[in-house]
């Protein structure tokens, strides 16, 4: 394949990112690996001793693990929804950021479900899901939806990477090992940039981005129904599916902004990732925060206004500053309003401030997941009568925290590895001239009318 000069130049710019494992990379990797090893040890303890080593007990049977699961599946929306939609709309500014978004998706769709596995009492019997799977169970819906989602998002990322893989294959100047060169050749599946191949690939990407959007929506809806289908105050809510979907896009956008900030800073991508990206994504975040806030308000207002005994018991805990009040204030009010204010006021909107509020929003959304799961489980319909405090109130143990940190470490580490493998900016895309977009046509039409 003939590589244009412009592409060559860009690739050259990125080659150190691919070729070198500098000291910073090594130190960070070492720290992350230590955390992951510690998480592995925690996992070993849990499998050896049973779930007694976790903070989960008969009432709060799900804890940090499920919160993490929902959280990671949530942030996977960055690539699935955002990059899918931006691709379909042929938005020009998506080009430099699309790969970061897809990395987030692929990595978090793999890490998320790991947390479900951690929550299972008998991991060794997981094959029973295949042997005896019952389609009536929302968990089986989840298994089907998530496997489809994982495959779909891998395909999506892969298709979008093929052109770059071919470029890497055909760049003999790169100082990389034999195996890596071979792998580029293998993965580029003979793409040579002929007109026919190009059309085929482009069509596949478009189809995939259209498919991945509904799949992503389904995945998070099914996940919400795991809660919504139970007779529990705080869970048994009809708006849970759309509420979860919006929360997911919200957190996905937040993580994307934070990741872009980090890449821009450490890989010096100021040329590609600009203030414009933070402005646009910030606006998106603002809109999502508004919708999410609307859902939150609507959910808690209806519960609170009628104050049916069961709902009231959960709300009492959420609104009580001795229980979950502060967390609720942070997750449901500050985490929503703060991004809206900072991004909404042009004077306050800088790259750093947008990133900071995105980060806060992401943390708030994690806390919100915790608040959905734990207080509800602490408030079953049949009041708990127990004298063992740990049986009444959940507090996560070191095992759960270690595995949670392990998940975050794995997330970052996979990110670092993946961005060593291919340039974080899609070289083929940014070196291409702008596509003619639909919306442009509309504008033209409007003007001529």
């Amino acid at each position: 394949m003939k590589i244009e000069n412009k592409t060559k130049e860009i690739l050259k710019e990125f080659s150190p990112q691919i070729e070198n494992f500098n000291r910073r990379f090594k130190i960070l990797s070492a720290i992350l690996i230590v955390i992951m090893l510690f998480a592995l040890y925690a996992f070993y303890m849990q499998e050896k001793e049973g779930h007694i080593v976790t903070g989960m007990r008969d009432n709060v049977v799900w804890g940090l693990y499920i919160a993490n699961f929902v959280f990671f599946i949530g942030i996977s929306y960055a690539g699935a929804l955002i990059s899918g939609i931006l691709h379909l709309l042929k938005v020009e500014w998506r080009k430099p950021i699309i790969r970061v978004a897809e990395f987030i998706t692929v990595i978090s769709t793999v890490i998320g479900p790991l947390f479900i596995l951690l929550c299972m009492g008998r991991l060794d019997r997981i094959y029973n899901l295949v042997l005896y799977g019952r389609i009536q169970s929302p968990i089986i819906w989840d298994v089907i939806a998530i496997t489809t989602y994982i495959i779909g998002s891998f395909l999506f990322l892969y298709l979008a990477m093929i052109r770059d893989l071919a470029i890497l294959r055909d760049s003999p100047d790169l100082k990389i090992g034999k195996f890596r060169r071979w792998s580029y050749k293998f993965l580029a599946i003979g793409y040579n940039g002929t007109a026919k191949q190009d059309k085929l690939l482009e069509d596949s990407i478009t189809i995939m981005s259209a498919i991945i959007i509904p799949i992503a929506v389904i995945v998070h809806s099914v996940l919400a129904w795991i809660f919504g289908m139970t007779l529990r105050p705080g869970w048994h809510s009809t708006i849970f599916a759309p509420y979860f979907v919006i929360a997911a896009v919200f957190s996905g956008t937040g993580v994307l902004i934070v990741a872009l900030w980090a890449y821009r800073r450490y890989f010096h991508l100021e040329k590609y990732i600009t203030k414009k990206h933070f402005d646009y994504l910030g606006m998106l975040l603002l809109i999502l925060a508004a919708i999410y806030g609307y859902f939150t308000f609507s959910e808690y207002l209806t519960d609170w206004y009628t104050s049916e005994t069961w709902n009231a018991r959960v709300l009492e805990k959420l609104f009580n500053f001795n229980e979950y009040g502060w967390w609720f204030l942070f997750a449901a009010i500050i985490g929503i309003l703060l991004p809206m204010i900072v991004i909404g006021i042009p004077k306050l909107r800088t790259i750093n401030s947008v990133t900071a509020v995105s980060f806060i929003a992401v943390i708030a959304l994690w806390v919100k997941r915790y608040l959905i799961i734990v207080p509800t489980l602490e408030t079953p319909l049949f009041p708990i009568q127990d004298n063992r405090i740990e049986w009444i109130k959940y507090s996560a143990t070191w095992v759960e925290w270690a595995l949670t940190l392990g998940g975050v470490a794995t997330f970052i580490f996979s990110f670092m590895l993946l961005s060593k493998y291919v340039p974080i900016i899609p070289v083929s895309l940014v070196s291409k001239p702008p596509e003619k977009t639909e919306s442009l046509n509309v504008e033209e039409k409007v003007e001529t009318v």
């Binding site: 001793e49 049973g50 779930h51 007694i52 989960m56 007990r57 008969d58 009432n59 049977v61 799900w62 929550c119 299972m120 009492g121 008998r122 019997r125 997981i126 029973n128 899901l129 042997l131 005896y132 799977g133 019952r134 009536q136 169970s137 929302p138 968990i139 089986i140 298994v143 795991i226 289908m229 139970t230 007779l231 529990r232 489980l377 079953p380 319909l381 049949f382 009041p383 708990i384 009568q385 127990d386 004298n387 063992r388 009444i392």
Partner: protein, 321 residues
């Protein structure tokens, strides 16, 4: 045609129950006998026992130990999933008789080799509001006819049988705990760690869904209406253990329930004493009925007497309010 079938079903059912009733009476006697003489130390006191081949023998009473389920004849998994034919089990709990004697709790624990802190039956202090009277409410699994728990199980490890019993297959359960979040009555408990102090013979016998012992780490357990006892024609242990006759167990096809001493018509009992089911509004259709705590045999406070401090503190949660 269908009606006929139903009738014949009922008839055979009734015949079965006669047998069931007689055996149930026997179970009371033998149950008491066994527990009375249970113990590991030699007492010097001789008792007569009958061996499996029908011969009488004399042994030291100290050598006897209660063995309700260790000799249970093995029931295949398939059979255990179907249930006992033509039966529909039902329980009636008379709240006016309960004084929190907690014998049901410990009998259940013995029967299923559960540790002291794992209760498949709980006795709860109930008081709807400050202006209403407190009372004691024992709670088993309700063996609902529309069980929210079996509906959500991804692998069919917990299931509803034709005879109305909801069971768990501890060898299939993957421990996802979804059924626990689905159960509105908190009837299910998890085996967070490996079961301890299980006698050898229980550990070594082949697993049966019906016996519920030994429990398996990482899986869910709950009150199972003692199907292995029922199969032997005996009443569940909680029923026979209760000194106040709170529990009535029986077959709704037969329209008969018994607490070991009294045998009553189920429909009449429910009619006369205004029986109800707990949280009917959830649509779960429980198989456990309650008789309201009216004209109570015991003052409510008597239920707190004789409790250890630890047990008492269990009820602070409610009494404080």
């Amino acid at each position: 045609m269908k009606k006929e079938q139903n009738q014949s079903k009922k008839k055979t059912g009734r015949r079965n129950f006669l047998k069931f009733g007689v055996l149930a009476g026997g179970a009371v006697v033998s149950g008491v006998g066994l527990t009375a003489f249970a113990g590991d130390n030699k007492t010097g006191e001789k008792v007569k026992v009958m061996t499996t081949d029908g011969k009488l023998a004399e042994v030291d009473s100290g050598m006897l130990h209660s063995c309700n389920s260790c000799s249970s004849s093995y029931v295949s998994n398939e059979e255990a999933r179907k249930g006992i034919p033509d039966r529909k089990f039902v329980m009636v709990v008379d709240l006016s008789r309960c004084k929190n004697a907690r014998k049901c709790v410990s009998a259940c624990q013995n029967m299923h080799y559960l540790p002291k802190d794992k209760e498949w039956i709980t006795v709860n202090l109930m008081q709807e509001t400050e202006t209403t009277a407190p009372y004691w409410m024992p709670k088993t699994c309700f063996h609902c006819d529309e069980p929210p728990c079996t509906k959500v199980c991804p692998v069919g490890a917990t299931f509803k049988r034709d005879d109305g019993i909801v069971l768990i297959d501890n060898e299939r359960c993957i421990g996802c705990k979804f059924c626990m979040t689905a159960c509105p009555y908190s009837a299910r408990v998890f085996n967070w760690d490996k079961p301890k102090n299980i006698p050898e013979e229980i550990l070594n016998r082949p697993y049966s869904v019906e016996s519920g012992a030994p429990q398996v780490v990482g899986t869910v357990g709950k009150c199972d209406f003692c199907p292995d006892m029922i199969r032997k024609g005996k009443l569940p242990d909680c029923v026979t253990a209760c000194p106040n006759g709170v529990y009535f167990f029986g077959d709704i096809n037969e329209d008969t329930v018994t607490n070991g001493d009294e045998t009553l018509r189920f429909s009449e009992l429910i009619k006369d004493k205004a029986g109800y089911r707990y949280m009917e509004e959830l649509g779960t259709q429980p198989s456990v009925y309650y008789l309201p705590p009216v004209d109570r045999n015991f003052p409510f406070e008597s239920g707190l007497k004789g409790l250890s401090e630890e047990q008492k503190s269990k009820y602070h949660f409610n009494t404080d309010k």
